[in-house]
Amino acid sequence: MKDIAIVAYQQSDGVSDAGAVNEVELIMPVLDRTFEQARLDSAQDVDFVCSGSCDYLQGAAFAFVAGVDALGAVPPIKESHVEMDAAWALYESILKIRMGHADSALIYGFGKSSPGELPIVLSQQLDPYYLAPQWVDSISLAAMQARLMLDQGLITERDMAEVVSRSRRNARSNPHAQLAGDVSPEDVLAQETYLSPLRKADCCPVSDGASAVVIATVEKAKEWGLPYAIISGIDHRIETHNLGMRDLTDSVSTRTAAEHAGMHDGKVDVAELYAPFSHQEIILTRALGLGEETSINPSGGVLAGNLMMASGLSRIGEVFNRIVSGEAQRGVAHTTSGPCLQHNLVTVLEKA
């Protein structure tokens, strides 16, 4: 199979409310910067375009159709869309390149979550007979997961606070972060609980924004003369939708995906994990077997800003940034979907 490389990544600032900005206005500036970085004029210069979005975030059917208006798709382009995080759009694009139908692809994800009540909106992705009608919000489900871990002595509240503290501190060097600052674990623990056992700081914020990535075959990346990182492995797995039948203190699907993506074939210098809640970062770190040698969420992760439908793609982009800057030789990016880490995608990136 052809080696595939990432050559560009851009993200908008994570903001709690993007205000008077529609989908196309959210996407265009990010694509502009992405094209500039990849030295492309428009989406006409890549062989395939794929995006990720969710209609229910802003409450309008066909949100992705507006996205096409940002692409300059005249003459027509090869284009597709997943109603998932754009990391899966990247996955679809990789298959397209592997089968020889493209040498390059633009991938973007976007979400304007601020118009709705996101935790309640997400309750409607649960079992439509047993759970959705109860309006069990996504934060409450995560809180139950955290308590299982606390009760079983797998984590302490301090462990969770340390995750938050590191996220906020790391985010200070991320210009797009929504929440950043010199926050100590003690500061976090001093907060009252929000959805016990979670504190507000244990939960990612709601953010509006978009991100984009350009990938290409290594030959193409060389031809373009751009710095790149190689995608050496990618795999994703989903688990049963019955929360009661999963071991919520572990992420079996993340572990399986990492094995299939070849994560353990070398040292992992950096990991960007899509953990919307602090305790989930610990679950993921353990499922992936990451230790001291790995810098976890140097961007601050999604606790510093969660661009629904783009955050997973951004994790991949953040690892790319560390590798091309020379800070890391090899890294892993993780993406999740569904309640309590039901569906997980793992991407392994390496220095060229």
Binding site: M1, V49, C54, D55, Y56, G59, A60, A61, F62, F64, V65, V68, D69, L71, A73, V74, P75, P76, I77, K78, E79, S80, H81, V82, E83, M84, W88, Y91, E92, I94, L95, K96, R98, M99, G100, H101, V121, L122, Q124, Q125, L126, D127, P128, Y129, A132, D235, H236, R237, I238, E239, T240, H241, N242, V252, S253, S337, G338, P339, Q342, H343
Partner: protein
């Protein structure tokens, strides 16, 4: 070059207004089980599942792959959800094929569905946003002016749409799975049916159906050993263009022309009317048959309606290039599945497995889907012979 891949199993539900006997999972499952049985395979033989459907608002279940994991035997496997509006069934089949054509997987299951009776398609498609005009009278209201412009350009006689409406329902009467069963339909009945969006009459429009369609796609090694004749994938293509832009040809969209040219090139087709034995083309409003006959290169510009009127696209009239032998979207329209039904029915034809709507000796067939404002296109060509 892409690895070879073939359809080795096809499964569908019966299409009907309301499937009140099953849950959403039960509906999807039924098509998937039928496809596995057709392929003589079990759940363990499947490496990944690729799911497609139109907007989540139809059923009010957000990202339904999350809930459908267990119904599709996906626990521990990769699962992906495609959404490209009305073309989604076709796009989903293409994404599924790419799982195999890329060499990444050996055998995958793909499923598309819509359980439209859970809500109301008109509501889900026309739900107005603040500050926007509320004149969107469903898909028909959108496409009717484009059809009117086609009629003006082509000078087609008024009864072309009526003829297609009759022809596809007569085809549908041969297909026990088709939603509308109208073996006695007449031109007069269509002409006298209620005008909805002039020039589209009630019987010139598709029904609203519940249903699901599934396929098993395997690599060359497994397809060679398949239980039944495989349908080899000879070409796949997708194209998109914006909904509107200055100078856009809405009647004959370039995205459709480009997509067809791409898929024909891959399949070695130079004259689609001659080289293909039949086609399953997304025709939700009857007038789209002559429009797509031109867009897809089966007829010169302005002359698509002549093929229709000559009976070239009719199985019953012994036409040389039968279109929509299954009855097409005009006979069954479970929106998210409709594109995949076209792809699957093309596969059934070249597998020689299309029952009473079989085109005798069909070797090469086109599957076509379109969506949005006729701006998203997905097509594949399947053949009985390995390329």
């Amino acid at each position: 070059m892409a690895n070879l891949a073939a359809v080795v199993g096809v499964g569908q539900t019966k299409y009907t207004t309301k499937r009140q006997d099953v849950s959403i999972a039960g509906l999807v499952r039924e098509a998937a089980v039928n496809a596995l049985q057709d392929a003589d395979l079990g759940w363990d033989d499947i490496d990944a599942v690729i799911l497609g459907k139109a907007p989540d608002m139809f059923e009010g279940v957000i990202m339904p792959e999350v809930y459908l994991t267990d119904a599709l035997g996906c626990n521990g496997k990769p699962m992906i959800r495609v959404h490209t509006a009305g073309s989604v069934g076709g796009s989903t089949a293409i994404v599924a094929a790419s799982h195999v054509q890329s060499g990444t997987f050996r055998r995958v299951l793909t499923v598309s569905f819509e359980k439209q009776s859970e809500s109301n398609a008109m509501w889900a498609l026309s739900n107005p946003q603040p500050f926007s005009t509320h004149l969107n009278a469903g898909a028909g209201g959108y496409f009717a002016p484009i059809i009117r412009e086609y009629i003006r350009r082509s000078n087609a006689p008024k009864d072309v749409g009526i003829k297609v409406a009759v022809k596809d329902r007569l085809h549908g009467a041969r297909n026990p799975l088709a939603h509308l069963q109208k073996p006695d339909i007449t031109m007069q009945e269509v002409e006298e049916s209620f005008m909805l969006w002039d020039p589209i009459r009630f019987l010139e429009a598709c029904p609203s159906s519940d249903g699901a369609c599934a396929m098993v796609i395997a690599n060359e090694e497994l397809a060679d050993k398949a239980a039944k004749q495989p349908a080899w994938i000879r070409g796949v293509a997708m194209r998109s263009e914006p909904t509107t832009f200055a100078g856009r040809d809405e009647v004959n969209p370039q995205a459709g022309r480009d997509c067809a040219a791409d898929v024909y090139k891959q399949a070695g087709i130079t004259d689609p009317r001659k080289d293909l034995d039949c086609a399953e083309v997304y025709v939700p409003f009857s007038w789209y048959e002559p429009m797509w006959l031109e867009n897809l290169g089966f007829a010169p510009i302005g002359e698509g309606w002549k093929l229709t009127m000559e009976g070239a696209t009719s199985l019953d009239e012994g036409g040389d290039i039968p279109w929509n032998c299954s009855g097409g979207v005009l006979s069954s329209n479970a929106i998210g599945a409709s594109g995949m039904i076209r792809f699957a029915e093309a596969a059934r034809q070249v597998r020689g497995d299309a029952g009473d709507h079989q085109v005798e000796g069909a070797k090469l067939a086109l599957g076509h889907a379109y969506g949005g404002g006729a701006q998203f296109f997905a097509m594949w060509v399947v053949g009985s012979e390995k390329p």
